[in-house]
């Protein structure tokens, strides 16, 4: 953060210098024009000045932050293109207006205006976050003001540097939130573990009492009350289990794994009928970097995808047999590096495919096209969840008659909280 600030400061100082130079150059051009004693030499000189002016204008506009220069009356003297774009008003209509009117749509100077402070103290001033409503979306800015001095050392202008910190702010908020969640998660799982012991005692004793009431001398009324105790203990456990389930992400293993070995081993280990009649094609990129993952989870996803593919092949096979068409099952498995930090894994088959109308629902829990009992319909939704927890993506598409499931996994694990 400090570094960022220093960098920003240096950067803005550079702009200040450029602007001062620029205004002087402009003055010079005016003078030259007035005296119009054009000689050969003068023309070249003024050309140079014009070029410099253009250069400076370009630099000014190229700055991604919003720059606004105001005079002592808070009237805008100059803005860069990005400023105009952000406020959505053409530059020509901005000039000579009050900065607070243009930027905040106010009729009076803003509270805690840093420019005011800069005019007063000649120091650089900062206002951390300024909210700004733009097309129904609130954006946040950081405002910094820098003084511009005249020859006598008085402040004639103030430069406002306005940086959009909306994303930064949101990211930070998310970070705080996820850290909070993470610590709640860790705490929850600890508490849930600890609670299990007393709860098993409570319910165990209650069950004993219910099963042998005569041993304890209990009547019917007591038994009905004890049933409540047992039920309540079960309910408390369900709540605990739900909480545990939510916080389980933090229990995940995280190991660097060669994804190709994992693919081959897993696919080889799947025992399904018809497997021998299916052609397997591997296209695995050598020297893939090992990826951070919970291998048993990823294995589960691969098992899901390959089993689905083989089932689709089986179905297509019987369909083709029934219409007397020749068919040979094909299963393609590939891995490759994608971009800098992602690995792409695909499982493709020439099986019966996913009907268009179902394609948006296949990742929904309990959505299954197979007859009841064959598959819970949870495979793909669990896979989806697992891949999301790994900070990756899973999607499906139809390419050249093949149904293809693709998984993108980051090489370095990012936790999704």
């Amino acid at each position: 953060m400090n570094l960022l600030f220093t960098a920003g400061f240096v950067f803005v100082t550079a702009i200040v210098v450029l602007l001062v130079l620029y205004s002087r150059l402009q003055k010079k051009v005016e003078q030259l024009k007035q005296f119009h004693t054009y000689t050969e030499r003068d023309v070249t000189f003024s050309d140079q000045i014009i070029i410099s002016k253009r250069e400076l204008e370009t630099v000014f506009d190229a700055i991604s932050e919003l720059i606004c220069i105001i005079d002592k009356n808070y009237r805008i003297v100059r803005v860069n293109k990005n400023y105009a774009v952000s406020v959505g008003i053409p530059i020509r209509s901005i000039l000579n207006k009050h900065c607070y009117q243009v930027f905040k749509n106010r009729s009076r100077i803003c509270d805690k205006c840093p420019a005011k402070e800069t005019f007063k103290t000649a120091n650089v001033a900062t206002q951390k976050t300024v909210s700004y409503r733009c097309n129904d979306e609130v954006r946040y800015y950081e405002l910094q003001t820098f003084p511009v001095f005249d020859e006598t050392g008085g402040i004639i202008r103030v430069i406002e540097r306005i940086r959009d910190v909306t994303e930064e702010k949101r990211f930070f908020e998310q970070l705080v939130r996820s850290e909070k969640l993470a610590s709640i998660g860790i705490m929850t799982s600890g508490v849930a573990h600890e609670m299990n012991n007393p709860l098993s005692g409570i319910s165990g004793i209650a069950v004993n009492l219910l099963q042998m009431p005569e041993k304890y001398g209990f009547n019917e009324k007591a038994v009905s009350r004890i049933t409540m105790i047992a039920d309540l203990a079960s309910r408390a456990t369900r709540i605990m289990n739900d909480l545990l389930h939510l916080s389980r992400k933090h229990d995940q293993a995280n190991i660097k794994v060669n994804i190709n070995t994992l693919l081959v081993k897993t696919v080889n280990a799947i025992h399904l009928e018809g497997i021998t009649e299916t052609e397997y094609q591997y296209d695995l990129e050598n020297s893939l970097q090992p990826i951070d993952c919970d291998p048993s989870k990823i294995q589960q996803v691969i098992v899901n995808l390959v089993t689905n593919a083989l089932q689709a092949i089986q179905e297509e096979k019987s369909r083709c047999e029934s219409i007397g068409k020749e068919y040979k099952g094909l299963l393609q498995i590939s891995s490759c590096r994608q971009k800098e930090k992602t690995v792409l894994i695909t499982v493709s088959d020439n099986g019966i495919g996913v009907p268009e109308k179902n394609s948006s629902r296949i990742f929904d829990p309990f959505f299954s096209t197979r007859p009841t009992g064959q598959g819970t319909g949870l495979g793909l939704s669990i896979s989806h969840k697992i891949i999301e927890e790994h900070g990756g993506k899973i999607f499906f598409e139809r390419i050249d008659g093949l149904t293809r499931f693709s998984i993108k996994l980051p090489i370095e694990r990012k936790y999704n909280v």
Binding site: S200, G204, V207, N208, A253, H271, S296
Partner: protein, 306 residues
């Protein structure tokens, strides 16, 4: 169970620092056994000096000496004594410790506590009568079928029919299809080996097993669960291998191992997995799913070896 009625009852020592848990187990177990309790390892060792026990059931986390250490010590002091751990914590976290202390039975403290399962496990430990799915089904509600697999074709057909059976009866077969695939394939193709140790049959090839290589399958259900048992007579599993494999899989180290994945997956996908081993004679894998999810909780560890 037959033994108790006529002869002296078995003696069980329950060690748990939580009084309620001690009383809960005492109340239940004293109907059938002679039960003592101790609140920590030290008290347990003292009791053992003065009294003979057949089985010690201990909690894992206790002040002073912990459960695994205590049981290890007890077994070294009293030959033939049976031991089991009981815990409310995630048993997967203790598999390595179990492996190190060679503990093969860890009973989960579920809510509600599963007394019937405790009964079956304790009975198996005490009587060494460990085989058979029926031991885990309720005597008066049980429906049980038995079949033999003599060829790869039998294996396929039986698997399909068991899964279909469960599905028509219960509307689900859980992940039994996957697990049965795995376990039956193992029993058919990986268990029979040639003299030089290489596998006799090629995976997925159509084969007929030799008369002494048959595989016995039991499947059945009672009111609260359904299950399958697969027994082969050529398996060479030992409890150490099973523990080693499960531990490696849980730790993520066993990923590239050529075997062990099936056992791990079965344990993961079924509510209960019980492995019974009679050294070099037979290996039985029992897989059980409960209809209700109230006993799901943490996966126990049940490996018995005669």
């Amino acid at each position: 169970m037959e033994k108790m009625s006529e002869k002296q009852p078995f003696r069980i020592l329950v060690v748990d620092d939580e009084k309620a848990i001690r009383m809960m187990l005492l109340d239940y177990l004293e109907n059938k056994y002679e039960v003592d309790t101790a609140e920590n390892g030290k008290a347990a060792l003292e009791l053992l000096e003065s009294k003979k026990f057949d089985l010690v059931i201990s909690d894992i986390n206790m002040p002073g000496i912990n459960g695994p250490e205590l049981l290890f010590k007890i077994r070294s002091l009293y030959k033939g004594i049976k031991t089991a751990l009981i815990t409310a914590y995630n048993i997967d976290d203790y598999i390595r410790i179990a492996k190190d202390y060679c503990i093969t039975n860890i009973i989960p403290k579920t809510v509600p506590f599963n007394f019937l399962e405790l009964d079956s496990i304790i009975n198996g430990l005490l009587t060494s009568n460990i085989f058979g799915l029926s031991r885990y089904l309720s005597e008066n509600q049980m429906v049980l079928e038995k079949s033999l697999i003599c060829s790869s074709k039998d294996g396929r057909e039986l698997r399909e029919s068991i899964v279909e059976n469960f599905e028509t009866k219960f509307g689900t077969s859980g992940d039994m299809k996957l697990i049965l695939d795995e376990i039956i394939t193992n029993a058919i193709y990986h268990a029979p080996v040639l003299e030089d140790g290489t596998e006799k049959y090629q995976e997925f090839s159509d084969i007929t097993l030799e008369p002494d290589e048959y595989i016995q399958i039991e499947y059945g259900y009672d009111k609260e669960k359904y299950g399958v048992s697969i027994t082969d007579y050529k398996g060479r599993l030992t409890k150490e291998t099973v523990l080693y494999k499960i531990d490696r899989q849980i730790a993520g180290e066993g990923l590239l191992d050529d075997s062990g994945r099936g056992i791990h997956m079965s344990r993961l996908f079924a509510d209960r997995m019980i492995i019974n081993i009679e050294s070099n004679k037979r290996t039985e894998v029992i897989l059980i799913n409960y209809f209700s999810n109230r006993y799901r909780g943490y996966k126990p560890l049940y490996i018995n070896e005669l």
